[in-house]
Symmetry: C2
Subunit: 387 residues, 2 copies
């Protein structure tokens, strides 16, 4: 890679294939590569992405040039590939651009290059009841960045992990959470205490059984990662149950496509209200990404408002909703574990539904602490660790 | 309203019209109201929404009953309207439900009732260059909840407000932000300092002109509200410019529907990266809600990655992008103001694009502080203040 044409990024773009020629067309160039691939680049795209110091401020690596300040029909006056394989372009106003070939290859938007990039996107590994939950050691995670990266990749791709050897002092959850990034505060605080309370403002703070759910479906953006850290667990019951919501959605899609479609289409309201707050969010239970893959589950029976859809749609919604919950109760999907003091769960709250068996506060104390971190922080941390 | 059938909510549902009769059908009842409206309620919906103490925990007001635990073909054994106008239902297992008529009317899902609720949803008031920016007084907002509510309604519906008389001590922004709720932290901190810095990690922290943008389009959920508080402003230049992104999107929709469509459909990557973080978000510039209304603008030229769409779509995307930005520069949309010490802007960051003229640090000091709060917190606070 040539540093002369350094691009505004912290990543590097190794030269995996050199340009072999360039052809000029009316609104674009065709760049030919040594392996025969041809990548069209529109003139506006090239001018827009000029990496020079006048177009990109070198300190922030952010663009100061704006493409709207060029004419619609902008065309190079000359194009050329230099001895380093860089693409050189002269523009009519005297501006010059120089593009690193590794960067160009990595950002080419011909069909083959785009399909290659798409294939490189990390995939979720779906799981069922036979999941071997990935386990990590607190001390190692606190001291070793490569172990930290392995943990975060497991959280991203599997969505359920356990950490052992965590100190049982209240607040110590913060230390390991902050190995990833800052904590996302909510109306339940920065850290929340999961204990049975007489004046509970959520069923989570009772000794009740809690059915499988995501936390804070009442918010436009549900928290990405959830941590649950066990400080004391002397009470009988209270086991943690997990299912892979993506696996259930996938099974529903093939076993009952009409129910799947209904849960993708019909929005449902979730509510959380107490004396000081009144949160409501209207959204479908299953969200798909731009590629039609399941990207998010939103579910908590105890936080749900009355269904509000047309008379014609109502039976369809109930049928689909009941089916999803019935599936989440099937043993093929469920893993159940009792958390011991010094252990914590870290899971993808928008994918991995969690439940709790009822516990008996008369048999002993039970104290968990929890917190949230968003997916944005997880993915940023992974990218920085991978640099 | 009868308290005997109290529903699990902090709101009240006045009896605006009494039930006059009930008719049983195969999978639902038809409730007839005194004004002739007929509201179907499915049996499952009624059982699901039973407000009794066994179905809803009275302390948390959250449901403990789960509708999946009933048979598909559940039917009442008896239905009856009592002297208070409540709907009484007996179920085959001996369970009884009693529904407050005000609550039923407020949650009825016949077409007329749904259209009524839809018409009651708050509408954005679109604005252009002749906007009279709503101005509020710090001391009043800190002490008077009805003034606070008026401010928050202006933020919600107009999306741009100014507050005057704010103390100019660093950190005092927190006090007024916390009148709404907790602050949303980001990778730039809880409060961020907008000052020209030699080691800037964003163009915001330079003296450059900043084109019209939303903050943190690099995140899955852009911050809902942005605060910018002026502590010192002795430098020449640096005026604030605002446009109503919803008004521009609306104008684009009618003046150039193809460009509008392209910005709704084609996702664009936004990036923010420094030595410690690497944020990326791929999303369309205009997001619509379930009703097809413009719900969000995502835009910051200096945080944009290289466009990545097919060769066929690329010219369409550039044409639309350039058109949107060109419109945002038109005087018909822009308001410009210089902020003085002790004044702050509070605006909807996902709607109101903001820009800054370049300033000259040699002519004097300039120090703003900023922070974010999410829309969820704004809407919750409004609902609590309206109780």
């Amino acid at each position: 890679m040539t540093t002369a044409a350094a691009v505004a990024d912290f990543r590097t773009y190794p030269l995996i294939c050199a340009p072999s020629g360039v052809q000029s067309l009316a609104d674009r160039i065709n760049l030919e590569w040594a392996d025969g691939r041809i990548s069209p680049f529109h003139h506006l795209w090239l001018r827009d992405n000029c990496p020079c110091d006048r177009c990109v401020y070198s300190v922030t690596r952010e663009q100061v040039f704006e493409i709207v300040d060029t004419p619609d029909d902008l065309k190079p006056t000359a194009t050329h590939i230099d001895n380093d394989g860089c693409l050189l372009i002269d523009w009519p106003d005297g501006h010059h651009s120089r593009f690193d070939p590794g960067w160009l290859r990595a950002h080419a938007y011909d069909d083959v290059s785009r399909a290659e990039r798409l294939a490189g996107i990390p995939q979720s590994h779906l799981w069922r009841s036979d999941l071997q939950i990935p386990v990590f050691e607190y001390t190692v995670l606190m001291n070793d960045n490569s172990a930290l990266l392995q943990w975060l990749l497991a959280v991203r791709d599997i969505g359920l992990t356990q950490v052992r050897g965590v100190p049982t002092d209240p607040g110590s959850l913060k230390l390991i959470a902050q190995r990833i990034s800052f904590i996302r505060e909510s109306n339940f605080g920065v850290l929340f205490n999961v204990q049975s309370k007489a004046d509970a403002d959520s069923n989570a703070y009772t000794a009740f059984n809690l059915p499988l759910h995501t936390d804070l479906p009442t918010r436009e953006l549900q928290p990405g990662l959830q941590f649950l850290h066990c400080l004391v667990n002397d009470a009988e019951g209270g086991e943690s149950i997990f299912v892979d919501g993506f696996a259930i959605a996938d099974a529903l899609r093939s076993e009952d496509p009409k129910a799947f479609q209904a849960l993708c289409e019909i929005p449902v309201e979730f509510r959380n209200k107490d004396r000081h707050s009144d949160y409501r969010c209207l959204a479908p239970i299953i969200a798909l990404d731009a590629l039609g893959r399941v990207a998010e589950i939103r579910m908590a029976n105890f936080l749900r408002g009355a269904f509000d859809t047309s008379v014609e749609q109502m039976p369809r919604l109930y049928r689909a909703y009941r089916r999803f919950i019935a599936m989440s109760r099937e043993s093929r999907f469920r893993v159940m574990h009792r958390l011991n003091p010094g252990e914590l769960w870290c899971f993808d709250n928008r994918r991995t539904l969690h439940a709790r068996n009822a516990f008996d506060p008369a048999t002993g104390a039970r104290h968990f602490q929890g917190c949230y971190i968003d997916r944005d922080e997880l993915l940023s941390r992974i990218l920085v660790l991978q640099r």
